[in-house]
């Protein structure tokens, strides 16, 4: 347990959007005979392998059964059927022992845009073979036992209840709900209590059948494998699944038409405040000016404007930040802060004022140069482990980014100008119609929307 100067969670958020590159990482790319896209980085420095397999099986595919994608992923390792080539049926205990006896570990989880299975194993022939065989069965031939279904659904409900005692989680949930309305991005991947309560085993089975298919599947491998081994591995994974059908495109979310303020009472010492709107997609034409601008505004920890103004100058908060989460369709842009209840308004006003100023004036030459140096100079850091590299390859795979994405990234950052940032922010960010969520306090009085200031955003068309 450490008390840190800044939360890792917030830094992590920053790094989600902080893309990174390194000159010519030798990524190998091909398709299996089934059409599955493969991304491979060969490195023999450690006797280990990381594999990530992505499916178009995120919670955007839940339809109205929120939490289904997530529950399905969590049930994969709870039992496997007897099927050609995968040996005898196994229960959850036998599966766990199968991995853990050889020091391997697997995971499966659904995010909003995708579901990802991961395997980490030592690379020596016998152990890797054994881990891969089990991993393939878990992915392709889960048995979804009734008792495990009921238990894991109960555990998912416990997790949802645990979130309700965390003010920051409550705020996140309310923010996405207000921002996205009926769009599938409105729900976190784990759904909500009512929807999870209503999930059935048949729905889980049907979801697996429809979405764990080679259409939309990608495989990422990093580590101590030969090219031939990697090809054989990807093909085995792909061959274990039916072709299935590609999913329809995710609809675009509607931008907010007016400001919205949500205030939820909560028994807390602090107010958790989130303010924001729609941000950008992975293939957004304004990606780099928005991204570099956000880095300066609130995405770079201690170097950011929000941190300087709210924490360093005034001591109002421990954590204050902004981020843009690039997704298949526009993810959120949001600013967040937690501060003691009687300072909530002050902190929110400051965030707002700094956003207005940033949109109006853009960054100074010095701020821009500093940000570029930080992003470009920091490239190698984000790619300094097999795990990090696998994570980036997975993002490239899920969003079908060009193979030279990492190589081009610093070049794109280098071309961003103060003018392009100002233009992009003026065109895209609208402080006068944002969602503003405050969790904390007794909450009797509805709060006036803080974004309704008349001098808002003079440069906005």
């Amino acid at each position: 347990m450490f008390a840190k100067r800044f939360t890792v969670a917030v830094l992590f958020l920053a790094s989600v959007c902080a893309s990174v590159a390194q000159a010519a990482l030798p990524i190998q790319h091909w398709q299996t005979p089934q059409g599955v896209r493969v991304y491979f980085l060969q490195t023999h420095s450690l006797p280990m392998v990381d594999i990530l397999v992505n499916f178009d099986a995120g919670s955007v595919r839940d339809d109205k059964t929120h939490g289904l994608a997530s529950l399905t992923a969590s049930l994969l390792d709870q039992g496997i059927q007897h099927a050609p080539g995968n040996g005898s049926p196994k229960d959850a205990q036998a599966i766990a022992e199968g991995f853990e006896n050889i020091g391997a570990s697997m995971g499966a989880s659904a995010s909003v845009d995708s579901a990802t299975l991961s395997l980490r194993s030592l690379s020596d022939g016998e152990r890797f073979e054994s881990a891969l065989k089990l991993f393939t069965s878990v992915m392709s031939h889960p048995s979804f036992p009734q008792d495990a279904f009921k238990r894991e659904r109960e555990r998912a409900l416990l997790g949802l209840k645990a979130e309700q005692q965390q003010p920051d989680e409550v705020a996140q949930r309310a923010f996405f709900k207000a921002l996205y309305g009926d769009h599938p991005y409105a729900w976190p991947a784990n759904g909500d209590i009512d929807s999870v309560q209503a999930l059935t085993l048949d729905q889980v089975r049907a979801f697996h059948t429809a979405h764990y298919v080679t259409a939309g599947m990608s495989v990422v491998m990093v580590g101590d494998l030969s090219r031939a081994q990697a090809e054989a591995t990807a093909e085995r994974l792909a061959a274990s699944l039916p072709k299935g059908e590609a999913m329809p495109a995710i609809p675009a979310p509607q931008a907010l038409k007016e400001a919205q303020a949500v205030h939820l009472p909560f028994p807390s010492a602090q107010a958790s405040i989130l303010v924001g709107q729609l941000g950008m997609s992975r293939d957004d034409p304004d990606y780099f000016p928005l991204y570099v601008g956000n880095h300066i505004l609130g995405g770079s920890g201690f170097s950011s404007i929000l941190m300087e103004e709210i924490r360093e100058k005034r001591g109002l908060a421990y954590g204050v930040y902004s981020y843009l989460l690039p997704m298949q369709q526009p993810g959120p842009f949001l600013m967040g802060v937690q501060t003691k209840l009687d300072q909530g308004q002050q902190a929110e006003s400051l965030m707002h004022a700094n956003l207005l100023d940033f949109i109006k004036n853009g960054p100074s030459a010095k701020q821009l140069e500093h940000a570029k140096n930080n992003i470009i100079g920091g490239f190698p850091l984000r790619l300094d482990s097999n795990k990090d590299i696998a994570g980036w390859l997975s993002i490239m795979a899920i969003y079908q980014l060009p193979l030279d994405f990492l190589e081009q990234y610093p070049k794109h950052v280098a071309t961003v100008t103060a003018d392009s940032i100002r233009k992009a922010w003026q065109a895209r960010i609208h402080p006068e119609r944002m969602v503003s969520v405050t969790v904390g306090g007794a909450g009797e009085q509805p709060k006036a929307p803080a974004t309704a200031s008349p001098q808002a955003s003079p440069g906005t068309p």
């Binding site: 008390a3 450690l46 959850a92 853990e100 209840k161 645990a162 170097s303 924490r311 850091l381 097999n386």
Partner: protein
Amino acid sequence: MQRMKTAPRRRLSLLIFGIFSLSLATAQAAAPTVFEGRLANGMRVLVQEDHRAPVVTSQVWYRVGSSDEPGGMTGISHMLEHMMFKGTKTLAPGKFSEIIAEKGGQENAFTSRDYTAYFQTLAREHLDTALRLEADRMRNLNLRAEDLAKEAEVVKEERRMRTDDNPNARLMEQFYAAAYLNGGYHHPIIGWMDDINQYDIDKLKHWYQAHYAPNNATLVVVGDVQPAEVMQLAQKYFAPLKPFKLKARDYREAIAQSGERRITLRAPAKLPALMMGYRVPSLLSASKDPSVEPWEIYALEVLAGVLDGGQSARLPKNLVRGEELAGEVSVGYSLDSRLSDLFTIAAIPSAQVEPAKLEQAIRQQLAQLRDTPVRADELKRVKAQVIAADVYGRDSVFYQAMRLGSYEASGLGYRRLDEIIPGIEAVTAEQVQAVARKYLVDDRLTVGVLDPLPMSAEQTAKTSSAAQGYSHVR
């Protein structure tokens, strides 16, 4: 899937604790060599090469943490850690972070019970800058009252966010305070709010002058560097710093426990939570206690793995699946703690399950370990995981530096790392049973229970300030 959060805790999972050298079967990844140097002023330097990426992590570790703090000054190590970014005689506040960011680096710091550490991770060519800045703030910090006034507010917000508004964290804090009636581990790392309220600049200056000097620090550098160039830079920047007269570090164990203790925290929450902890020795406390055999520490580590080393281990198998009494359960044991520590079991009961019922089930699991030796396949699995975790741990430059630094700063010395794998590999089923019988007994047990109150805001305003013993709205 988003898993439920259990109470945050000092968790020594086998994965985190991948500090072991390889068995013969995978000897191609033999343990990397650690270069050890020492400056004339007493500062130690450890370097480990890792040339996979053009990156280096540099960490300065001070042998001071919350377990060194006297009453009334709790959290001062952490407060000082924050103040270390407020400038020196020649560097303006915030400039340290700005310079590192300008070079594309990441930097931060952390405080634990046993140490305080500062780190920068950056492209290899900027190591020079990191060391120059660290050397400067080791002796030249400019501690000003007006900066402290603001930064103490930041720390209070940190405490509200991490602890006061998190019922599981509050349970944890009070559970530790009950398990350690006195001594260095009684109070939380971040400090009690009343103590934070009463910091002044003289207290900070005293703490800085008493603990921040080259002969109380270790520099650890891991990455794409050669030991000779690191030593050259260390010589240039740290060698000119004057050492102080180092007094022996206080060693303040809590009084021995003899009889079970229980606490209940009633707080607004949706779910109950259960914490159980048994007083056990660590590697370091064992060396001061002739009644503890060295193998006992490794046997406790294996015992933790048998209970919670992965999804196949006994507690997930029997309590999460099996009887379905727990939604989450996890075991913690830190063999590298400076003082004797707790062997903890933290759990969230399943819906409709009373904490008392889950507690009984956990006690039954522990009774089985006392009554019957663990099976050969369980023992083998724990050891296989330890060996694999060692390889995986080397994927992170930061983690490798972390384990070297923490062993140095706690007083164990990094060489002890080499003993861990052989120590664990030698553990027998009888030894696991022996430590279960010796340590997992009621006389050493503290139990903490979170008893949820309704979560209406009005309700809480009352209970929260009453339970905390202070008011945060003044």
